[in-house]
Assembly symmetry: C2
Homo-oligomer: 212 residues x 2
DNA sequence: CATTGGATGTTGACGTTGCACACATTGTGG
DNA sequence: CCACAATGTGTGCAACGTCAACATCCAATG
């Protein structure tokens, strides 16, 4: 079978299998091409089997989106925990920009890795589901936490929103492939350049870092 | 009939009527609730009439999206042409932030006015349509033009991408209603605060040459 | 052990959708 | 005046989401 062998009439853990199948199809075929029936087919069960585990199609999509946000949050914390930045100039005042760039890179990578999922997470309107909202809030709070170290709580709210918006906007732009096809390296340096152009030099430095 | 009286077998300008009906339904019911048949119904014609004017459903959606980008571009130029900014005098170095905030406000307003359309413009993957791409590029170039006055062409690319990403991210965030329900006034001041937090003390002052 | 009940998967059906085909109606150029 | 291309209609089909009824299995109870 596509995902795992079915022992008999009962499938050991259909819920997880459906989620897995849905994720594969989502990133392979796109959001709107994802049909509940196709998911069931891929999992090797009848078209109506999913209804024993999800109330309707939106419930499945919501579960996928929530999973995506949780995974994104993990990526974000990882990205900040051990930075992949080459120069390692972390000591001076550009830490804010560097942290932001790291989170932007992580988000964009995740978006490019899972385009269908990402589009579902941010694009689908039916995702007012509370499950999704809380997962999304958790991811956002990761950003807020990492940002809080650099600014007074006064401006923290604006910064948080701005950075989250910037990161998300960059992801969408790059996902759309509108900025030309880029190698992963070029993508990273583009992200760095954009982030630094916007908010470098804020507190400490006064000259934009113009590399390249 | 819903839109206009049909004189007889032939409808004077079905193409435009369909577009109009589709726009109404789009913002009323949401993107995925929009069916070609519903559009035809709303326009008072048979389910297959649209196929004489649009190759398929995606073609209709693409036309709508392109229309949206064109209208957005117009709003952007308007917003910068006669700024609605309150006490802010534009003579000092904060012009960049003020211009950006104006464009962000215009975009967010447009997004909140036409949520369905906006979601289609940025969310729908089937919009690789060349018609949409060129309209989107036109809108983006409006942003680039207004930004070019404040920075050297060197950093212009990064700034353009960053501002476009920021504006789009803010729109999505506010469209999603994730930041709490806001009055229009509160929305505007939130946008201003975010944009200034990101740009004011940073990029604006770092470019000493306010050329020309 | 046998029974039985709830959880899980299946089958059939209904209404809706996007789209392809053949057909009807029109006003317009020869 | 009339054929013809443009435009709208009708019918049909496969796929979809979802509901209702049925089948099958595991597990607890006697």
């Amino acid at each position: 079978m596509s995902t795992s062998d079915r022992r008999s009439y009962h499938h050991g853990d259909l819920r997880a299998a459906l989620q897995q199948s849905a994720l594969q199809l989502l990133d392979a075929e796109g959001v709107d091409a994802l049909s509940l029936r196709a998911v069931a087919r891929h999992a090797g069960v009848s078209p109506n089997a999913p209804y024993r585990h999800y109330r309707d199609k939106d419930a499945l999509l919501a579960a996928l989106a929530a999973h995506g946000f949780t995974e994104l949050a993990a990526r974000l914390t990882d990205a900040v925990a051990h930075p992949a930045a080459p120069g390692a100039d972390g000591a001076d005042g550009a830490e804010l920009a560097e942290t932001t760039a790291a989170m932007a890179r992580a988000t964009v990578h995740y978006a490019l890795e899972h385009p269908g999922l990402f589009h579902l997470m941010f694009g689908h309107p039916c995702i007012g589901h509370p499950e999704v909202v809380s997962a999304s809030d958790a991811a956002q709070s990761v950003v807020a936490t990492h940002l809080a170290a650099f600014v007074p709580p006064e401006a923290g709210e604006s910064l948080k929103i701005g950075v989250w918006a910037l990161v998300h906007g960059l992801s969408v732009l790059l996902l759309g492939g509108r900025l030309g096809a880029l190698t992963p390296d070029r993508t990273d340096s583009l992200i760095d350049a954009v982030v630094h152009t916007l908010l470098d030099t804020g507190a400490a430095r006064t000259t934009p870092r113009a590399d390249r």
